[in-house]
């Protein structure tokens, strides 16, 4: 159903009134369908047992805060980026460093592995997203082959290849997200709607179609149609910046982590928040979230140096993992779900299983 066109003779006052009316109506419509809580539906589900998850590998080598990491589809390689401008590709099984690049800027806040495993993308305070093809020759200077793809007017906060090496989606402190063609550097689509810095994004699992979700300093999580550039759904229940968003494996929901010390689950078909993961004792922001393969577990990395593991259905915390000696800044589950990796301001990355 297409939205009606706005009539040219509507005045500012009438538009503002309509705006308020529509917002109220939106809340009413959402509330009408709020007949039960997720944890009530999950009451009869068997409770989870004790979890034994430990650090199995520690990746040391960054000279400063680790800000971002991503897994390669081969389930063993990892790319990570740091405040000192270094981007490192690791073999997580052996902990060996396979490649290292020094970016011309500090605070490399975003990095991503290409689906082919043959390139990595990264960026940060340089306001750009650059792609580095990975060479098999360890001695080759990767920086020489660098390709600048995205240009924003403020810092790059997140980047992700779409389902091929050919396109990259970026989010920025300039309040926008954008889709770029890697080969030509051309802007394919831009996404406007956030009222402040966009801090994170996640692409819907490929079966679900061409959408992605973004979270920002305006406390909103927006779902976008990649083809039209339209924001199709918007959620504003967090009380502070949204640092991380991640789709539920079925694509029907997504989780968010925020500076308000909570993680939340939003269902896209019910068009509302359906769960909050919080505890009075957790007062520091959640910087990064990801689901286990079945979606039953939600891992959250927090600014109090811990990782909390939540039962997504029941809303309870099932485990708390200690080990990092400073904020956890990034966290991703491996592609086959056998482990997850966390990166921290303590300069290290840890693989947990």
């Amino acid at each position: 159903m297409a939205a009606q066109e706005v009539q040219p003779n509507e005045t500012l006052a009438s538009l503002k009134t309509e705006s308020e009316t529509l917002k109220t109506k939106l809340e009413e419509e959402r509330a009408k369908l709020h007949d039960v809580e997720l944890h009530q539906v999950a009451e009869k589900v068997e409770a989870l047992g004790q979890f034994v998850m430990k650090t199995r590998r520690t990746l040391k080598g960054h000279g400063n805060k680790v800000l971002c990491m991503d897994w390669c589809k081969d389930k063993r390689r990892i790319v990570s980026s740091s405040q000192d401008g270094k981007v490192i590709v690791w073999d997580a099984f052996t902990t060996n460093k396979e490649h290292a690049v020094t970016m011309p800027c500090t605070w490399v806040m975003a990095c991503a592995y290409a689906p082919s495993g043959c390139a990595v993308a990264c960026g940060g305070l340089d306001n750009k997203c650059s792609v580095y093809p990975l060479s098999l020759d360890k001695n080759e200077n990767l920086a020489a082959k660098k390709k600048s793809v995205a240009m924003h007017t403020n810092y790059l906060s997140a980047c992700s290849f779409t389902n091929s090496d050919m396109q990259i989606l970026t989010s920025s402190g300039d309040g926008t997200c954008a889709l770029w063609d890697v080969e030509s550097g051309q802007l394919l689509q831009s996404f406007h709607g956030h009222a402040a810095d966009v801090l994170c994004l996640d692409l819907a699992p490929s079966e679900t179609g061409n959408t992605f979700v973004s979270g920002g300093c305006d406390k909103k999580a927006n779902v976008w149609d990649m083809r039209s550039g339209q924001c199709v759904q918007s959620f504003e229940t967090h009380e502070s910046d949204i640092n991380s968003v991640r789709y539920y494996p079925s694509g029907d929901a997504f989780a968010s982590g925020s500076d308000d010390a909570t993680c939340r689950l939003y269902d896209l078909r019910a068009d509302r928040e359906v769960a909050i993961y919080s505890k009075e004792s957790i007062i520091f922001g959640a910087s990064s979230v990801d689901f286990s393969l079945s979606g039953r577990l939600l891992f959250g990395g927090y600014n109090d140096y811990t990782i909390n593991v939540w039962d997504v259905l029941k809303g309870t915390r099932v485990s708390i993992l200690f080990g990092h000696e400073n904020r956890v800044s990034t966290l991703r589950v491996s592609p086959d779900g056998t482990a997850f990796c966390s990166g921290s301001w303590d300069h290290t990355l840890r693989i947990w299983a």
């Binding site: 369908l33 039960v36 997720l38 029907d252 393969l293 979606g295 259905l313 589950v333 299983a353």
Partner: protein, 72 residues
């Protein structure tokens, strides 16, 4: 900036906001009970394939066995 152009700017912004809200209001929604049931079903159906949930024997998890398998 003249009063007129500031006014028309605000008008454009307000028009965009209303258009966006109309779009969001027209989204088809399902009941939370239905959505929650589907989330639960997905979790339960895929639980057995979830290594972090089930725990896998050390031999199957590449991260669990010790780094070096040398015998000397």
């Amino acid at each position: 900036m003249s009063n007129n152009s500031a006014n028309s700017n605000n008008l454009v912004i307000a028009q965009k906001a209303v258009k966006q809200l109309r779009l969001e209001a027209s989204v088809r929604r399902i009941k939370v009970s239905q959505a929650a049931a589907d989330l639960k079903t997905f979790c339960l159906q895929n639980a057995h394939k979830d290594p972090l949930l089930m725990g896998v024997p050390s031999s199957d998890n590449p991260f669990r066995p010790p780094k070096s398998c040398s015998l000397f």
